[in-house]
Subunit: 340 residues, 2 copies
DNA sequence: ATGAAAGCGCTAACAG
DNA sequence: CTGTTAGCGCTTTCAT
C-alpha cells in the first residue's frame, strides 16, 4: 500500500485562513478560541474530512490511551465475558483495548516489545498463569500491570481477584451441607493461583469439618478435561459424591461425563463450579457456581490503571479481593435434605 | 500519573558513544551497521532497558500496524473463536488488534474518531449488522474495511463470508432428506445479511422441493431467543418437524426449549444450525451445523487488509465467498431412514 | 484570543 | 559504514 495521505491540522488551517494552533485549540476541550474562529475551523475541517491524529499527542505525552489486555483463551466464556465488559468500561473511560493473544507464558517475552513499543498506559493480564519471571520483566516496563484473577504482587504489579481461599472453604461447606461425604476437587492447570487457593481453602475446610481428604483430580479448565475426569471417577470405588471443580467450563464437562456414564447429578454426585458463566443456567446443566462479581472486579482494575489516587498505590503493587457469591442451582440441591 | 520518562534512542546513543542514527539502524532489520557498533549499541540498550518507540514511526508512515476489530457480542462463542484466531493470525503478521466494542450500529459514529485517530491500518467488522450509512462513513476513512460474515460492498469496503444462500439451500436439502416435512426457519436479528441469505436459500430450495413454505420464527442469535421460539412452536399445530436456525447459539436454546416442553430431537423435531461452535458437540446437544471454515475466512480477510496484490483490489470492494461444510450430528439423524 | 516556534522520538535522505 | 539534518502532526509555551 502506498503512502497514505491524511488531512492534517495544517491543511485545515490553510483552508480556514487561521493558524495551525487555532485548529488544535478548536479540537482541544476547554481551550480558548473565539466562536468565530471555531466555526471557520469546523467548517474547513468538515469539508476536508479532518480527523485529529492521536499519535503526535501520544508521542509527546507518552500516554497512548491504549491499554493492553493479554488473554489466553477467549473461547472460555468467562474470559469472553470479562473481555467484553472490560472493553466497554475502558471505552467509556476514553481508553482503547489493544488485545494481545498469548499462547503460553513463554510467548510473553515476544509480547513485551509490542507493549512497550506502543507505550501502552497499562497492561491487564487475564492469563490463568503468569510466572514471577514474566512479572519481573513486566515490572521493568514501569507501567501499571494488573493480574485479573491472579495473586501476584510486585512493584508495578497488582492483582484483582475474588477471595479464592474463602470461596474454596465455602464450596466445602456447601457441598457438605448438601449431603456430600466423599469429596473430590478438580483442579485447573498447575500454575494457576486461582485453582491453588480454591483447592487449599476446600481442603482445609474439609479438615475442619472432620471429613476425609478429597480425591484430587487434575484438569486444565477445559470442558474436555472435565469430561475426562468424570469418566475416570465413575470407575473409582468408592466414587466421590461431591465434586468441586476449579471452573465452570470443566464442571460442565464433568457433568456431561457423568451423564455419559449414566451417573446423575445431583442425585448421585453433587457438582459445584466457579465463574457462573451463562451456560450454567442452561436446561441440561443447572450448575451451581460461584459468581465472581465481574463488574466489581473490573471497577477495581480500572481504579488501579486509570489516573487517580488508587493508581499511585498500584505502583507499589496492590492485592484486591472481592467476595464471591454462591449461586445454588440444581447440581448441589440436596435430594434427601432440601435446604428450607 | 506524572509524565513518564522513557529511554530514547538518543539516551542509548549517548551511552554507547555513537550517533542516534546508529541506534536506529541497529534496531532496523537489514540496515547497514558494523558489528562493532551494533554490539556497543546493544550493550547500552540492554543496560538502559531501551525499547524502541513505535509511535514516531507510525506518525511518519501513517501506518500504525494496528488493525481495529469491531465486535458486538464476544460472548457468542463463534465470535470469541473468530477473535481468538484472528488476533493470533494478525500477531503473526506483525500487526496488533485494537478491539472495539460496539453496542449498537448507532454507536459506530462515536467509534469513527478513534479508528481514524489511531491511524489504524484497517478495520474488520465482525458485527452482525452494519448499515449502509455506517459503511459510507467508513468508506470516507479510506482504509480497507472488511465485513466479516457480511455482504456489503463499496469503495474500500469488502466482505468475506460463507456462501449463505448455498448453505441455506443445503439446509433445506439436508432436513428434507432426513425426513422433515413441516419446516421452520428461526431468524437472527432483522438487519443481518447472513440470516437473510440463509433464509432465502432455505425458502427457495423448499419451493424447488415442492414443500410448503416454512414457518418463520424470529430471534436475535441469542440462546434465550431460541429457547423462547421453541416454546412458541411446541404449542403450534401442526408443529414443525424440521427447523433450521440462523445460528448455533439460538439452535442450542431451541433444543433446550424443546427439551423443556418434553419434545425430543431428532425423534420429534430435526434441528440444524450454523457456526459449528464447540458446544454443538457437547453431550446433551449433538447439534448438526454448518462449519464456516473460519481459518479460511481469516486467511481471505488478511489478504484483503495486509499489503499485497489482493489489498489493491480491496480498495474497490470485493466479495469473497467460501463454501460452508455441513457437520451432521444427532439432531438431524433420520430415525426412520438412516443415511447409509 | 491568536500566531510563531520549539520539540516529542524516530526514519530517511544526504554527505562524507 | 556513520554522522548530520529535516520533518512526521500535533501540543505547548511565549509573545503579541
Amino acid at each position: 500500500m502506498s503512502e497514505k495521505r491524511y488531512v492534517s491540522s495544517t491543511d485545515v488551517a490553510r483552508l480556514a485562513g487561521v493558524s495551525q494552533s487555532a485548529v488544535s485549540r478548536t479540537f482541544t476541550e476547554g481551550a480558548s478560541v473565539s466562536e468565530a474562529t471555531r466555526e471557520k475551523v469546523m467548517a474547513a475541517a468538515r469539508s476536508l474530512g479532518y480527523r485529529p491524529n492521536f499519535l503526535p499527542q501520544a508521542l509527546m505525552s507518552n500516554r497512548s490511551r491504549l491499554v493492553a489486555v493479554a488473554v489466553g483463551a477467549v473461547t472460555n466464556p468467562f474470559y469472553a465475558s470479562v473481555l467484553q465488559q472490560f472493553t466497554a468500561a475502558l471505552q467509556d473511560a476514553g481508553q482503547q483495548v489493544a488485545l494481545i493473544q498469548v499462547a503460553s507464558d513463554y510467548a510473553m517475552d515476544a509480547v513485551l516489545d509490542r507493549i512497550a513499543g506502543y507505550r501502552v498506559d497499562a497492561l491487564v493480564s487475564a492469563l490463568a498463569v503468569l510466572s514471577p519471571d514474566t512479572a519481573r520483566a513486566l515490572s521493568a516496563l514501569r507501567i501499571p500491570v494488573v493480574c485479573f484473577n491472579g495473586r501476584l504482587r510486585a512493584e508495578w504489579v497488582s492483582s484483582v481477584s475474588i477471595d479464592n481461599l474463602a470461596a474454596g472453604a465455602e464450596a466445602a461447606d456447601h457441598l457438605h451441607q448438601a449431603g456430600g461425604r466423599r469429596f473430590a476437587f478438580l483442579s485447573g492447570p498447575p500454575g494457576s493461583p486461582a485453582t491453588k487457593d480454591r483447592r487449599t481453602g476446600f481442603v482445609r475446610r474439609l479438615r475442619t469439618l472432620r471429613e476425609g481428604a478429597p480425591l484430587l483430580l487434575s484438569g486444565d479448565y477445559s470442558y474436555e478435561s472435565g469430561l475426562a475426569a468424570a469418566l475416570r471417577v465413575t470407575d473409582a470405588a468408592p466414587r466421590p459424591d461431591a465434586v468441586a471443580c476449579a471452573n465452570d467450563l470443566a464442571a460442565l464437562g464433568f457433568l456431561d461425563g457423568l451423564r455419559r456414564a449414566g451417573v446423575r447429578s445431583p442425585e448421585d454426585v453433587l457438582v459445584l463450579g466457579y465463574d457462573n458463566i451463562g451456560m450454567d443456567a442452561w436446561e441440561p446443566y443447572q450448575l451451581s457456581s460461584f459468581d465472581q462479581n465481574v463488574p466489581e472486579l473490573i471497577r477495581r482494575t480500572l481504579r488501579l490503571i486509570l489516573d487517580g489516587d488508587a493508581a499511585e498505590e498500584a505502583r507499589r503493587g496492590v492485592l484486591e479481593k472481592v467476595p464471591a457469591r454462591l449461586v445454588a442451582r440444581r447440581t448441589t440441591a440436596a435430594p434427601m435434605f432440601p435446604l428450607i
